[in-house]
Amino acid sequence: MLAQNVIFYGLAAVMVASALRVVTVRNVVHAALYLVLVFAGVAGIFILLAAEFVAVVQVLVYIGAILVLFLFGTMLTRAPIGGAHDLDNPAGMKAAGALSGAGLLFLLAAILYDGFGKTKVEPNVVTRSGDIGLAIFQDWVIPFEVVSVLLLAALVGAVVLARRD
C-alpha cells in the first residue's frame, strides 16, 4: 500500500501543478503541453484504481486525438505562439473566477469530509477488459448505439461547420 500512496501523491502533485499552469500560463501551446501532463496523470490514476482499459483509452483518445485537435485549433486560429497578454479576462473576472473556484472547493471539501471522513478508497476488485466489453454489449448496448450516432452527428456537424463554401 505504501508504494501506491507514494505514486498517488506524486501523480497528484504533478497533476495539480500542471492544471494550475494550464489555466494561468500566457502561451496557448504551453497550456496544451501542460494539459498532456494532466491527461497522463489521470491515466496513471486510472491504473492505480485497477482500470487499465479506461487508462489505455484515456491515452489513446485524450493524448492521441484531443490534444492533436487542440494543437490544430491553435495553429488554424493563428494564436500567438509566443507569450500573449490578451488570453485572460480582466482582473475583476479573474477574481470572480478565483472566488467561485475557491468557494466550490471549500464546499466540496466540506461535503467529502462529511461523507467519507478518513475512509481510504482502495481498489479491492479486479475487473478485466472482457467484463467491460460484456457490460457494454449486454446492459449498455442502447446507450452505446446512441453514443455512436452522437459521434457520427458530431463528425458531420464539425465538417459542415468548418468547411468553406
Binding site: 498517488f8 497533476m15 495539480v16 492544471a19 494550464v22 489555466v23 496557448v28 497550456a31 496544451a32 494539459l35 494532466v38 490514476i45 484504481l49 485497477a50 482500470a51 479506461v54 484515456q58 483518445v61 485524450y62 484531443i66 487542440f70 485549433g73 488554424l76 486560429t77 493563428r78 494564436a79 490578451d86 488570453l87 485572460d88 479576462n89 473576472m93 470572480a96 473566477g97 478565483a98 467561485s100 473556484g101 466550490l104 472547493l105 466540496l108 467529502l112 478518513k118 481510504k120 478508497v121 482502495e122 481498489p123 475487473t127 467484463d131 467491460i132 457490460a135 457494454i136 446507450p143 453514443v147 459521434l151 463528425l155 456537424g157 464539425a158 465538417v159 461547420l161 468548418a162 468553406r164
Partner: protein
Amino acid sequence: MQFLALAAVLFCIGVYGVVARRNAVLVLMSIELILNSVNINLIALGAWRGFSEAIVGQVFALFVITVAAAEVGVGLAIVLLIYRNRASIDLSEVAQMRG
C-alpha cells in the same frame, strides 16, 4: 477518498479556467479538465463500491470520454468559424450572441 479530493481540486481549477480565460481554445481546455475530474470520480467510487459498480463506473467513464471527443470536435469547429468571421477568438468580442 484521496482520489475524490484530487478530483475536486481538478474540478475547481477547471471552473476557474472557464471563468478567467478569454481565449476560446483555453476555455475548451479547462472544460476538458472538468470532464477528467468527473471520470476520476466515477472510477474511484466504482472501485470502492464493488465489482458490478466498478464495471458500471468504467463504462460511464468511457461514455464520458466519447462525448468529450465529440464536444471538442464541434467546439473547435465553432471556434474556427468564429475566427474566420471575426479574425479573433476572443470570447469577449462574441457579444452579439447575447439574447
